[in-house]
Each structure stands twice: as structure tokens, then as C-alpha cells.
Subunit: 199 residues, 2 copies
């Protein structure tokens, strides 16, 4: 038995989402068909409108529906402090802390030669242009402690080192609520390496 | 920081899908925005078209885009044998076995007084009408071994008992590949209860 073509098309479309296999895709499709038609329409309209109106900010690269984005155009943010992150989702995560008052720069990924992602595919050129303005005083690299994150940090450090700007990287160590006993060795190693003087 | 309205609307729509929480919804939304616009459009069109063209078969209740459905209108299927299942997804699961040659009847749920689902909300009336034709010789109840499945089986057994039709229920027991050691007690009880003579 084959699925009816409209159902098969919906399952196929759902299956392209990350973490959705054939079985989940069928479950999602049948769920949508069991709901009132208004839900399918709501999701369809939301998809089309979001895809049409959201684009990377020409300044920082974060997804936005206004240009420049709300953060870049906000005079109350500290434009001397730029936090460099891989993706827009990382901006949203940092904004949830409600404590960072600087601005962002979204790279659009991390350097990963194995995946064919070189520095030229990232928004590094735009970052250099931003620094050319002379307003930026500190760049915080908020890149993850992975091979790709470390490679990208090293690349940016070498590139930005000659510029008159302070360069820092976020701290790695034991997460809040984490226990030494359950932490992996690499995390503990980073926690020891990053130890701070008490007073 | 609030999400931009088009992004917030997409996250909200994704979040209504089963098993998708706020974090997964954001992940799915950002994934869609990172893909070429053709993907968002493909999913939007698939949603609208599937919701518009798929409806329960007037005969068996299974989701279909042609009426009656391909199974009900197939003269090569054994219309004397009707397998009663809760949902369309169960029909698709049974069809994957490629061995059942009868037809189906989708109840549209299971009797569950706690959830306010009574027999009158299921397609039991339609099932009785099908049986009125006199063609059906056996009804197989393929309802799960749960409180709701057992209740529904019992209800149907009482209702259909006076009719000149053979009534059976699928077997419950140890799944293929399952081990006695890891099976729960209720499954083992069902396996013992349903034991078969070895010739």
C-alpha cells in the first residue's frame, strides 16, 4: 500500500526537518490532518510569512524582520562591545540571560574544513568592516568548546590580533548545577585551566 | 528581547505539534529560515493540500484522497474480513505487513469515559450499517491491550455478539525479538493466557 499522494507529500516535507524520521513525520502529518483545517492553514501561513520577512541583519547577521535589527539600531546598547556567535539561535540564548548589554555578530556557522566550511563562507569580512569604524573596543568570542569552535576562535584571534581591540573568549568549565562526579574529563580540564584567583 | 513577530508566529505554530516543546519549536523555525525559501513553500503547500484533499473514507473511515478509498474499492481485497482499528495510522501499520488481505474499519478513537469519548463519538453506527449488508463474515478487533482498548473490545463484543458474524481479537504476548527477562508482567500474563496448543 502506498500513501495517498497529498499525505505522502506532507510526510516527505516533514521528514526534512531536523530530528524527524519517517515514523515521526507520519505521526506529525496524521496529527495535522486530525486537527481543524485552521491549524494547517496557520502553520502554512506562518511558514510562508516567516520565510519571506525574516532575513539576516545587514549589520550583525542575526535573523530579523527590520533592518538594521532591533539590537543594532538600539542606542541604549553598548556598541563598543561585540559578542561573536555562530548562529542567530545563540543570540536568542544570550538575550535570555537579560544581562548582556552589548551588540552581536553572527558568523553564520563555524570553520569546519571537513564539512567544506571555510572562513570565506562566514561573515568575517563584514565583521572586519564593522571594526573599521573604530567604535568597537572589545570582542567577546562566544564560540563553543568544540574542534570547530576552537578552530574558529584561533582563526579570529590571529586575524584580529593586530587591531587595537580587546579580544576575549567566554569561560568554559563546570556548568551551574553540574557535579564534578558527572562532568566529563575535557570539561574538568577546561575548568582547571580557567581557574581564577580568589580575591 | 522578544522574537520578531513572524518568527514568534512560526515558533507558536510549530509548538502545537505533538512532542514539540518551546525549544524544539525554535530549533525547527530557525532551521526552516536557514533553508532555501523553496523548502518553507514546499511544506506550506503540502500542509494546505493534504488538509484540503484528505478526508475519512465514507465507508471505512480511513484517511484518503479518493472516495471510497483504494482499499474499499479494491475488488481483490477480501470484503468478508473486516479489521477494526482505532486510527488511520493503524491501517498503515497493518498494510506494512503486506499480509492482511481483508478490509478495514477505522473507529476514530477508543472508548474513554475519562476523556469524554463515548461509543457515539466513534464510527460504530457506520460499522453496523456495513454489517447490515450481510457480506461480512469475520470481524477482527485490532485494538491495543490498554484499558481503553479492552473497554472498546468488550463494548463491540456485546454489540456484535447477536449478529451472525465471527468475532476475533488480535493476539497479545511477547513481541518478536523480545526477551522474557525484559517483558513486563502484564505482557507475560497475556502471553500465558493466550498460549496455543503445539499440535
Amino acid at each position: 500500500m502506498m500513501f495517498a499522494p497529498p499525505l505522502a507529500a506532507l510526510i516527505e516535507a516533514f521528514q526534512k526537518l531536523p530530528g524527524v524520521g519517517p515514523k515521526s513525520a507520519m505521526r506529525l502529518a496524521l496529527y495535522v490532518l486530525k486537527q481543524p483545517a485552521s491549524y494547517a492553514n496557520q502553520l502554512a501561513v506562518a511558514l510562508t510569512q516567516a520565510r519571506e520577512s525574516m532575513a539576516p541583519c545587514s549589520c550583525c547577521g542575526c535573523l530579523t524582520d527590520v533592518h538594521p535589527c532591533a539590537t543594532c539600531s538600539n542606542a541604549e546598547r553598548d556598541h563598543r562591545l561585540v559578542c561573536v556567535v555562530p548562529e542567530s539561535s545563540d543570540v536568542f540564548a544570550l538575550e535570555r540571560t537579560r544581562h548582556f548589554k552589548g551588540v552581536y555578530h553572527v558568523l553564520g556557522g563555524l570553520i569546519s574544513p571537513l564539512d567544506g566550511v571555510g572562513p570565506e563562507t562566514l561573515t568575517i569580512e563584514v565583521l572586519l568592516q564593522r571594526l573599521g569604524g573604530g567604535e568597537v573596543e572589545e570582542i567577546i568570542l562566544a564560540l563553543p568548546p568544540s574542534t570547530e569552535g576552537d578552530t574558529t576562535s584561533l582563526y579570529l584571534a590571529r586575524l584580529l590580533n593586530p587591531l587595537p581591540v580587546k579580544l576575549t573568549r567566554i569561560a568554559f568549565g563546570l556548568p551551574v548545577g553540574g557535579e564534578l562526579e558527572y562532568a566529563d574529563s575535557l570539561t574538568l580540564l577546561r575548568a582547571l585551566d580557567g581557574r581564577q584567583a580568589l580575591v
